[in-house]
Amino acid sequence: MSRALRMAVLVLHVLSLPAVARAQEMTLSVAISMKETVETLGRQFMHSRPGVTLRYNFGASGELSKQIEAGAPVDLFISAAQRQMDELEQRGLISTASRRVFARNVLTVIKPAGSALDISKPADLVGPKVQRIVIGNPKTVPVGQYAEESLKSLGLWEKVQPKLVLSENVRQALDYVARGEVEAGFVYTTDMAVRGSQVVEAFRPAEDTYRPVTYPVAVVKASKQPALAQAFIDLLVSPDGQAALARLGFQPPPRGLR
């Protein structure tokens, strides 16, 4: 066989694979701060269920919930805030019975590694050396909503307005800081490890200045794989799942929250 022909056969073979091999496919829309956790648990999930393939759709929770409202073919939704899940529940788009809170996170302020600026308390953000601060766009990005709440209760929200740069999700905020384009940024403590060598923690806003960062998960009503989606939720709340979350720095959900 000529090389070109072999190449063509190979390409055709690869193209035809998905139709043949993927018996069961499930799509997870996941708050991007949960990326590594869900990928880790996802590998375990697929390993124990041959023939099951997970597809991930990572993004800002607000963006993901709008996609679900618009009828995106998603089976499971993991949000970084209750608000987006509440909206979907009110519209009857998720299965209320399946909804669970499975993790908690903490807001923090980071600066580029090697930054000589002293940013050790909230008031330092107002200093003239801090030209730009990145937060997630509060309209769609939970970490931006938490940052807004915290800055408001610290009485700094109006003062930082001219410095704010809005990002499309928390990882973009992390990237802006890692690249040194901004002096400071609001992310979750768990995000720092992703760009560990490029960012350092500046300070943590007091936890009573913003609502607790809790992660709800639920099966999407329109899912064609509700049992499989429920199995993934079971994994998240299982000791195995909780151990994986703890390894990546997440805290267990507050007691009393379902």
């Binding site: 709008k66 409202e69 766009n137 309209k139 769609t140 740069v165 809005l166 690249r179 040194g180 901004v182």
Partner: protein, 221 residues
């Protein structure tokens, strides 16, 4: 229309006008050089100017960050000297729009200049005009239609720029949120009324530009 939508519309027009002016300033001389002069590196200049036409805007945006970001090749020394960086300012939106629009002007203007009869230029030359005056009084007036068409295309492209702008200028309401970015955010946040208003405004503006261009072309012909 909301205050945010109006500010996006105003910013978009400012950015597109500024980018078109910069395009005229850079693009017309460049088109002339490419059309009429043989110089070392001509093929390379042609390639670099044309690339944004074929590359995904995000790739162009990435190169702009590498060049102009706070730690970029050009951005780092500027930031070290002045403490200022172009990223996340409306100038960044102008730069992104200029780079994305430039190939449209250069290619159109170049073709127009190439089609100018060289004998006419030579005649002006023999009558004692310098190359500079020949360009201004003979070549450019004769290539006028093509240059105007190129500027219109550049303006329209600048008005619609999204990807490179998002990467270099970010999406900061009131500062760098142009209409395409505002539409994107409005759809993402489910503000469909806002999105529709901006979509219609941008469509109307683009139609206006095309009609105006048609009139100008007809008068010039």
């Amino acid at each position: 229309m909301s205050a945010e939508a109006l500010s996006a519309l105003g910013l978009s027009i400012r950015v597109a006008v500024a980018a078109t002016l910069l395009n005229a300033l850079i693009g017309i001389p460049l088109a002339y050089l490419l059309a009429r002069r043989a110089f070392r590196g001509r093929a390379l200049v042609d390639l670099v100017v044309t690339l944004p036409l074929v590359l995904p805007p995000t790739v162009t945006g990435y190169y702009l960050i590498v060049l102009l970001g706070r730690r970029g090749w050009l951005g780092a020394p500027v930031y070290a000297l002045s403490g200022w960086s172009v990223a996340f300012t409306w100038y960044a939106a102008v730069i992104a729009a200029t780079v994305m629009a430039l190939p449209l002007l250069v290619r159109t203007a170049r073709a127009a200049i190439e089609s100018v009869d060289r004998e006419l230029e030579k005649a002006a030359f023999t009558l004692g005009r310098s190359e500079w005056r020949t360009v201004l009084e003979v070549t450019l007036p004769l290539a006028r239609n093509g240059i105007i068409a190129g500027l219109v295309l550049a303006f329209a492209r600048a008005l619609g720029e999204f990807g490179a702008t998002l990467m270099l200028a970010g999406n900061i309401p009131g500062k760098t949120t142009t209409v395409p970015l505002a539409i994107y955010t409005a759809v993402q946040t489910g503000e469909m009324g806002e999105a529709v208003a901006l979509v219609l405004a941008l469509t109307a503006l683009s139609c206006l530009v095309l009609i105006l261009a048609g009139r100008l072309g007809a008068r010039a012909a």
